[in-house]
């Protein structure tokens, strides 16, 4: 990974956390918050290397856990799993396509939510979480795909082929 790419990635992660935790909640309702860290992870899965992307995906999930919920490691695990799934098919995909990126983010959101739900039901006492997750899934998918389409419009998305 070049120094420029590392800097860009670091800035994007910091921006995503601050934007998602402190800026967006003031302006939009909770179900309509995009999962920017998941989008970054999906980007890494499509464009990044396996060696660097795997720990990065786990760390991104961990970062999300630090600012979300009670269960440290929940998103770290689901992000890692989603990364591995996407990475296993990424070589056969046209990773430069913006549309494919949006589809990938939608799939990643679905897998991540499913894994989170399973882990929560298996390991925690959170009655009613399934209903909340199902109720919020559609807006969450839509917002994530919208945010992903905006990312696909960025000039860096076209140019930056060397993330790792």
């Amino acid at each position: 990974m070049s120094r420029r790419s590392a800097l860009l990635l670091g800035s994007a992660v910091v921006f995503a956390v601050v934007f998602q935790a402190s800026v967006l909640p003031i302006h939009i309702d909770t179900p309509f918050k995009p999962d920017l860290l998941l989008i970054i992870m999906a980007y890494l899965a499509l464009r990044g290397s396996f060696e660097l992307g795997t720990p990065m995906a786990w760390l991104l999930g961990l970062l999300k856990d630090i600012f979300s919920g009670l269960y440290l490691g929940l998103n770290a695990f689901s992000f890692l799993l989603v990364f591995l799934v996407i990475k296993s098919v990424a070589d056969r995909l046209y990773a430069e396509s913006g549309f494919l990126f949006v589809v990938t983010v939608v799939v990643a959101t679905l897998i991540s939510a499913t894994v989170n739900l399973l882990l929560l039901l298996m390991f925690t006492d959170t009655p009613g979480i399934a209903y909340s997750m199902f109720a919020g899934l559609i807006p969450h998918l839509l917002v994530n795909s919208f945010a992903a389409s905006l990312v696909a419009l960025l000039p860096a998305f076209e140019r930056d082929q060397d993330v790792a």
């Binding site: 909770t30 979300s68 919920g69 009670l70 009613g128």
Partner: protein, 273 residues
């Protein structure tokens, strides 16, 4: 003849001055009337004077306009800056007024809480859509510990779950993992307030024979020692009793407006070691 030649010019001047004096003296008694000369001259000049005045006025206006325009642009920019500044002050003033009202309510709550407490500002929310937590700007360095109760001006907010030196996370009472021992203020029926979807809560483990009605106020029972007794939690909005089952379903709308939470009080009591 020589005399005339010698003093002719002086005499001419003297005569002229004398005639002018006579002319003046003759006109003094009729100073309010126009004589022939005046009338003729005025008549001759009258058609010219009017357009001349108009033209002069036009040039005056044009000149003044130009000079003013030079200043107007500068003044316009200055006024715009002043308006911006005044608007900013107005917004800041309104914000300060609202903040003052909120803090006043919070202070009233602080006085009713019979334990040391610490005010904190909400600086962030949960990044995920499934969980309900907020981040506050006070942490372990301010004496905050995990498990401490958090209240706002209108009632219970939740409890501290994860503390860092300068920030903490608060698990809101609307989160599915939250549980607060509560009682119905009117009938003293007991239960546990748990979070549910849509920013609401439910009163769990309240047996079906307990007296719970829509509109009842739910307050903390103090059981468990986490929350002080009698803090407002919310209002009962729905009660359902099925034909079977031990418990009734009670839905509660939180007293605190979770979506617009800005300042909170952390009750510096209890908490986990």
């Amino acid at each position: 003849m020589d005399l005339f030649k010698k003093y002719g010019f002086i005499m001419l001047i003297g005569t002229g001055v004398f005639v002018a004096l006579i002319f003046y003296s003759l006109n003094v008694p009729r100073n309010r009337e126009a004589n022939v000369i005046e009338r003729v001259v005025m008549t001759v000049f009258s058609p010219i004077l009017k357009p001349a005045v108009r033209l002069s006025g036009f040039f005056e206006d044009a000149w003044d306009g130009y000079v003013n325009l030079v200043d107007v642009k500068r003044e316009n920019l200055k006024l715009r800056d002043e308006i911006k500044e005044l608007n900013t002050r107005l917004v800041a003033g309104n914000e300060a007024q609202k903040s003052n009202q909120r803090l006043q309510h919070l202070l009233e709550m602080k006085n009713t809480v019979k334990a040391p407490s610490l005010s904190a500002s909400v600086v962030g929310e949960d990044v995920s859509s499934w969980f309900r937590t907020v981040i506050i700007d006070r942490g372990s360095s301010s004496g905050i510990r995990d498990g401490m109760a958090v209240v706002a001006a209108d009632g219970v907010v939740g409890q501290i779950v994860k503390t860092a030196p300068t920030t903490s996370r608060v698990l809101l009472l609307t989160d599915h993992s939250s549980g607060i021992a509560a009682t119905i203020q009117r009938s003293r029926a007991r239960g546990v307030v748990k979070g549910k979807e849509g920013g609401l809560c439910s009163l769990e483990f309240t047996t079906r024979d307990e007296d719970v009605k829509v509109g009842d106020m739910v307050v903390s029972s103090g059981i468990g020692g986490l929350f002080l007794k009698g803090l407002p939690i919310g209002e009962v909005t729905m009660v359902k009793r099925g034909e079977y089952g031990i418990f009734q379903t009670v839905t509660i709308r939180p007293a605190v407006n979770i979506a617009h939470l800005e300042e909170v009080l952390v009750v510096l009591r209890g908490g986990y070691e």
